[in-house]
C-alpha cells in the first residue's frame, strides 16, 4: 500500500523535475517580437491567416520534440553536434549566425521591456538596466531549481493574453474557419507576415536551447516520455497564446480598421478604447513577463552554443572560473543588447528587422542539420527517426524553405 503511494509520489516528482525546458522554450517564443508579429497577423488579416499559426505550432512541436530527443540521446548541444557531424566550417558559421541573431533578438526583448515599461510611464533608462540585472542575477546567481521556479512564475503571466482575448469578444466561428481552412491572399504583406509567424514561433535559439538544456539537466532516456509531455505542452501553449493574441487584435483592431501596427505596445495602447484599461495593462504585463523569460534564456542559449563549439561543455552549475567562456558570453550578450536599446538614436528598427531575417535564414540550415542528425543511426541508435517522421520533417523544412525564399525575395526586391 505505502510503496504504491510512494512510487506515485516519485512519479509526480520526476514529472515536475522534467517539466520545464519544453514549456520555458515554448513560452519564450511568445516574446515581444512574437507578440508583435501575432498582433500584426490579427490586425492586418483578421482571422484569415490563423492557419499559418497552426502550422507554425505543429512545426514547433515536432522540432522541439526532436531537439530534446537529440539532446538526451547524444548528450551534446546542437552546435557541437553540427561541428562533429558537418565539420568545422558548418559549426563555426552556425555558431556565429546564432550569436549575431541572439544579440539582435536580445535587443528586441529589451526593446519590448522598454516599450511595455513606457505604457506604465516608467523610463527605459530604469526598466532596461533593471531587467538586465534581474535576468543575470536570476540565471547566474540563483540555484538551478530556483531559476526554474522563477521562470514558471514569469510564464504564468501569459494567462493575461487569454483573458484579454475573451474580453475582446471575438467571432469564434470566423476564428475556427481561419484556423482550419487555409486561404492565402497572394500579396507581399501576407507572405511576409506568414513567414514572420513561422520564424518567430520556431526560433533558432529555442531549438538550440532545448537541446543544450536537456544536456545540462542531464536528462536520460528514461525521462524522454515526460520530456515529450513537457515539450508538447509548452509548444501547444505557445500556439494557444498566439491564437488569443491574434483573435484579440482581429476582434478589436482589424474590425475597426486599425490594420497597421509596428510594435506590441502600440497594439496594447490601441486596445484601450476598445477593450478597456484593464486589457491594455494585462497586455503590457504579459509583454514584460514574456520579454524577461526570453531574455533569461537567450544569453543562456548563446553561452551553451559557444562553449559547445569550443568543446568545453559548461553548465549552469559550473563556477565562473571553471567556465569563463560561458559567463563571458552571457555577459557580453546581455550588456550589448541593453546598450543598444539605451543609446539614443541607435538604429533599433533596422536591427530588429535584420534580426528577424537572420533568424529566418538561420532556421533553415539548423532544421536541415537536425534532420541529418535525426536519421543518423550512429548518433541516434534506436532513437533514429522513422521514415514517416523523416517525411514529415522534410515537408516542414520545405514549407520553411518556401517562406524564407519568399521573404528574402521580397526583402531584396524591396
Amino acid at each position: 500500500m505505502s510503496s504504491k503511494l510512494d512510487s506515485r509520489k516519485l512519479r509526480l516528482g520526476a514529472f515536475l523535475a522534467v517539466m520545464g525546458p519544453g514549456i520555458i522554450a515554448g513560452l519564450s517564443d511568445d516574446d515581444p517580437a512574437g507578440i508583435t508579429t501575432y498582433s500584426q497577423l490579427g490586425a492586418q488579416f483578421g482571422y484569415q491567416l490563423l492557419w499559418t499559426l497552426g502550422i507554425a505550432t505543429l512545426a514547433l512541436i515536432l522540432f522541439q520534440d526532436l531537439g530534446s530527443r537529440i539532446g538526451v540521446v547524444t548528450r551534446q548541444g546542437l552546435i557541437g553536434l553540427i561541428r562533429q557531424k558537418y565539420g568545422a566550417r558548418s559549426g563555426m558559421l552556425s555558431a556565429c549566425a546564432l550569436v549575431l541573431a541572439n544579440i539582435g533578438t536580445m535587443t528586441a526583448e529589451f526593446a519590448g521591456i522598454a516599450a511595455a515599461g513606457s505604457l506604465f510611464g516608467v523610463s527605459k533608462y530604469i526598466t532596461v538596466p533593471l531587467a538586465a540585472f534581474v535576468v543575470s542575477f536570476l540565471v547566474l546567481r540563483g540555484s538551478f531549481a530556483r531559476v526554474e521556479k522563477v521562470f514558471f512564475l514569469l510564464a504564468s503571466v501569459f494567462i493575461a493574453y487569454v483573458i484579454a482575448g475573451f474580453m475582446a469578444k471575438p467571432d469564434w466561428s470566423a476564428a475556427a474557419e481561419g484556423l482550419f481552412i487555409p486561404s492565402m491572399p497572394l500579396t507581399r504583406d501576407a507572405l511576409f507576415i506568414a513567414t514572420a509567424t513561422l520564424g518567430t514561433t520556431l526560433a533558432p535559439w529555442g531549438l538550440a536551447f532545448i537541446q543544450s538544456y536537456a544536456v545540462d539537466k542531464r536528462l536520460t532516456k528514461e525521462d524522454l516520455k515526460l520530456l515529450r509531455v513537457d515539450v508538447w505542452t509548452g509548444s501547444l501553449l505557445t500556439g494557444i497564446i498566439g491564437f488569443f493574441v491574434v483573435i484579440t487584435c482581429a476582434a478589436t483592431l482589424h474590425v475597426n480598421g486599425q490594420t497597421s501596427i509596428t510594435d506590441a505596445s502600440q497594439a496594447a495602447a490601441a486596445l484601450k478604447p476598445l477593450a478597456g484599461t484593464l486589457a491594455k495593462e494585462l497586455f503590457a504585463v504579459g509583454l514584460i513577463g514574456a520579454a524577461l523569460l526570453a531574455a533569461s534564456i537567450l544569453p543562456l542559449s548563446t553561452a551553451y552554443a559557444v562553449t559547445d563549439l569550443t568543446g568545453r561543455p559548461a553548465a549552469l552549475d559550473d563556477k565562473a572560473h571553471e567556465a569563463p567562456l560561458f559567463y563571458v558570453t552571457f555577459g557580453v550578450i546581455t550588456i550589448l543588447a541593453a546598450t543598444m536599446v539605451l543609446i539614443p538614436g541607435a538604429p533599433l528598427i533596422r536591427i530588429l528587422v535584420l534580426t528577424q531575417i537572420l533568424n529566418a535564414i538561420l532556421l533553415l540550415p539548423l532544421l536541415v542539420y537536425m534532420f541529418g542528425i535525426a536519421k543518423d543511426s550512429r548518433l541516434m541508435g534506436e532513437y533514429r527517426a522513422s521514415k514517416l517522421m523523416l517525411t514529415v520533417y522534410a515537408v516542414i523544412i520545405s514549407i520553411v524553405f518556401t517562406c524564407v525564399a519568399a521573404l528574402i525575395w521580397f526583402t531584396v526586391s524591396g
Binding site: L10, L16, R75, M92, R218, T220, K221, E222, G311
Partner: protein, 434 residues
C-alpha cells in the same frame, strides 16, 4: 627493453625535425590523391588508423573518392605524404567499399571534432586537428590539437587552412580518444595515465562526456577505480551511465562499489534491469545486494553500509589490528565491531583504542562504556537521525532481530539519505555538491 622504446616514443613530438614533417589531417582531407605519375586519382575522404598495442597508431588505409565513389586504398600503397597531397606507389586502385574492422578508427569520421579526454589537463575537449608523421617506417598518428586557434584556422580556405599549428600539439599518448565502433581503440599509455587520476576527477570527466564515449571510458578503466569514480557521481547521471553499458560490466562495477551505494543504485533502476545485472554477479554478492535493495530507503536497513569488521570478544587486539590493516583501503574501517560468542553486538572499538592497548590483550578487556548506539533494521530514518543528534557519535550500528550487527550508518549515509528526499522535485540535477 620494450618499456624504454615506449618512453623514447612518447617524447616523439619533442624530437628534432619531427615538427616539420607533421601533416594536418584536417588540412589534407579533400586534397588530391595522385598516382606515381602525378595523375589525379581522386580526393582524400578519410584516413583509417589501426590501433594495436602501439602508442602511435599507424595509418592502415585511405578512403578516397574516385569518380563519385568511395574506395578503400591500403596504407602500404602510400609513397609520399605532404601537407597538400598524397602520392601512391602504384596506379592500381581497388574499388572496394570500406568495411570497418574492429580496432580501426576513421580520423575525420570518428576523431576530428569529437570529444576526447586530455589526460594531463584533466578535461574533455574537442579535437581541432590531428597530426600525422612518418615514424618507425610507417605513417602514424602522433599528435592532437585541441586549441581554438587551430579550429578557427580550418575555417579559412587555401594553404593557410593546411598549416599545422605545431606549438599547440598534444602528444597522442596523453589523450584518450573514446570514439570508436566497438573495437579496442586505446593504448596502454592512455590506460596508465587514466589510472593515475583521482576518482573525483574521473567522475567529472565522465559527466562531461556524451553517452557513447562515456561508456567507452568506463570500459577502459580498472574496475576498482571506475567503481570509486561512480560513487562520486550524481545519482541520475549514474543511472544513465549504467543503462549505456553491458549488464556484465555493470555487475562488475557494482560489485566493486560499497554495498550500500550499489544497493541504492539498484533500487533506483527498474526491476528488470536490476535483476539482469544481479544475475551477472557472484551468488553471494547478489544475495547480499538483494537483501539491501529490499530495505526501504527511509529505514535504517536501506541507508546502512554492510561493510563491518566483526571480531569476537575472545580475539586478541593484534588480530583486530591485522584485520584493519587488511581492509585499510576501505574508508569506513575506522574500528572493529566486537560480538559475543553468539554473534550479538557488544561494542565498537575505535582504532585508537586498539593502538593504545597491548597487542596480546583480549578484546573483551576493551569492551566498556561508552557503548555504541544500536538501532534495528526497520528503524525509520527520522529516528536514526534523532539517535545521531542525541549521541553526537560518528556512526550507529544496525542490528538484526537477534541483536547481531548487520551494518553501520555513518554521518555521510544520513546526508545521502536526506538530500534526495529534499530535492527530488525541481532541484533534480542541481549538482549542488559537485
Amino acid at each position: 627493453m620494450k618499456k624504454t622504446a615506449n618512453r623514447a616514443q612518447s617524447a616523439v613530438l619533442t624530437r628534432k625535425g619531427i615538427q616539420s614533417t607533421l601533416v594536418s589531417v584536417a588540412g589534407i582531407i579533400g586534397r588530391p590523391v595522385k598516382d606515381q605519375d602525378g595523375r589525379d586519382l581522386g580526393k582524400l575522404v578519410d584516413f583509417v588508423v589501426r590501433h594495436g598495442g602501439e602508442t602511435y597508431p599507424p595509418v592502415s588505409g585511405l578512403i578516397v573518392k574516385v569518380a563519385g565513389r568511395r574506395a578503400y586504398i591500403d596504407g602500404a600503397r602510400i609513397a609520399k605524404l605532404t601537407k597538400d597531397e598524397i602520392t601512391l606507389s602504384s596506379a592500381k586502385v581497388n574499388l572496394s567499399d570500406y568495411q570497418r574492422r574492429s580496432g580501426e578508427q576513421l580520423l575525420d569520421g570518428d576523431v576530428l571534432d569529437h570529444q576526447i579526454v586530455d589526460v594531463n589537463g584533466l578535461r574533455v575537449v574537442r579535437t581541432s586537428d590531428l597530426y600525422l608523421a612518418p615514424l618507425d617506417k610507417e605513417i602514424r598518428l602522433v599528435g592532437v590539437d585541441v586549441s581554438f586557434r587551430s579550429f578557427v584556422r580550418r575555417i579559412f580556405p587555401g594553404t593557410f587552412g593546411r598549416k599545422p599549428g605545431v606549438d599547440q600539439v598534444i602528444d597522442w599518448a596523453s589523450v584518450a580518444s573514446l570514439a570508436d565502433d566497438g573495437g579496442v581503440v586505446r593504448t596502454t599509455a592512455t590506460r596508465e595515465a587514466l589510472s593515475k587520476l583521482r576518482p573525483a576527477d574521473i567522475a567529472d570527466i565522465i559527466e562531461d562526456l556524451e553517452g557513447r564515449e562515456q561508456s567507452a571510458l568506463i570500459e577502459l578503466l580498472d574496475p576498482d577505480l571506475a567503481a570509486d569514480a561512480l560513487e562520486e557521481m550524481e545519482d541520475d547521471e549514474l543511472q544513465g551511465l549504467l543503462r549505456g553499458i553491458s549488464d556484465e560490466r555493470a555487475a562488475e562495477l557494482l560489485s566493486h562499489m560499497e554495498p550500500d551505494e550499489s544497493a541504492e543504485v539498484l533500487r533506483d533502476l527498474d526491476e528488470e534491469h536490476s535483476e539482469s545485472i544481479l544475475a551477472q554477479m557472484s551468488p553471494a554478492m547478489a544475495k547480499q545486494l538483494r537483501r539491501l535493495v529490499e530495505f526501504d530507503e527511509t529505514h535504517a536497513g536501506g541507508i546502512m553500509t554492510t561493510h563491518l569488521l566483526i571480531v569476537k570478544e575472545s580475539d586478541l587486539v593484534s588480530d583486530a589490528l591485522k584485520l584493519l590493516v587488511e581492509h585499510r583501503e576501505r574508508d569506513i574501517s575506522d574500528g572493529v565491531t566486537v560480538v559475543d560468542s553468539k554473534g550479538k553486538l557488544l561494542d565498537h572499538i575505535q582504532i585508537i583504542e586498539l593502538i593504545a592497548a597491548k597487542s596480546s590483550e583480549k578484546l573483551e578487556t576493551l569492551v566498556k562504556a561508552p557503548f555504541p548506539t544500536a538501532v534495528s533494521i526497520d528503524t525509520p530514518l527520522e529516528e536514526v537521525i534523532e539517535e545521531f543528534s542525541n549521541n553526537r557519535g560518528s556512526s550507529v550500528i544496525v542490528v538484526d532481530e537477534k541483536g547481531k550487527p548487520v551494518g553501520r550508518i555513518l554521518a555521510d549515509d544520513i546526508i545521502d539519505a536526506m538530500v534526495p528526499a529534499e530535492s527530488s522535485g525541481l532541484a533534480q540535477g542541481t549538482g549542488a555538491l559537485s
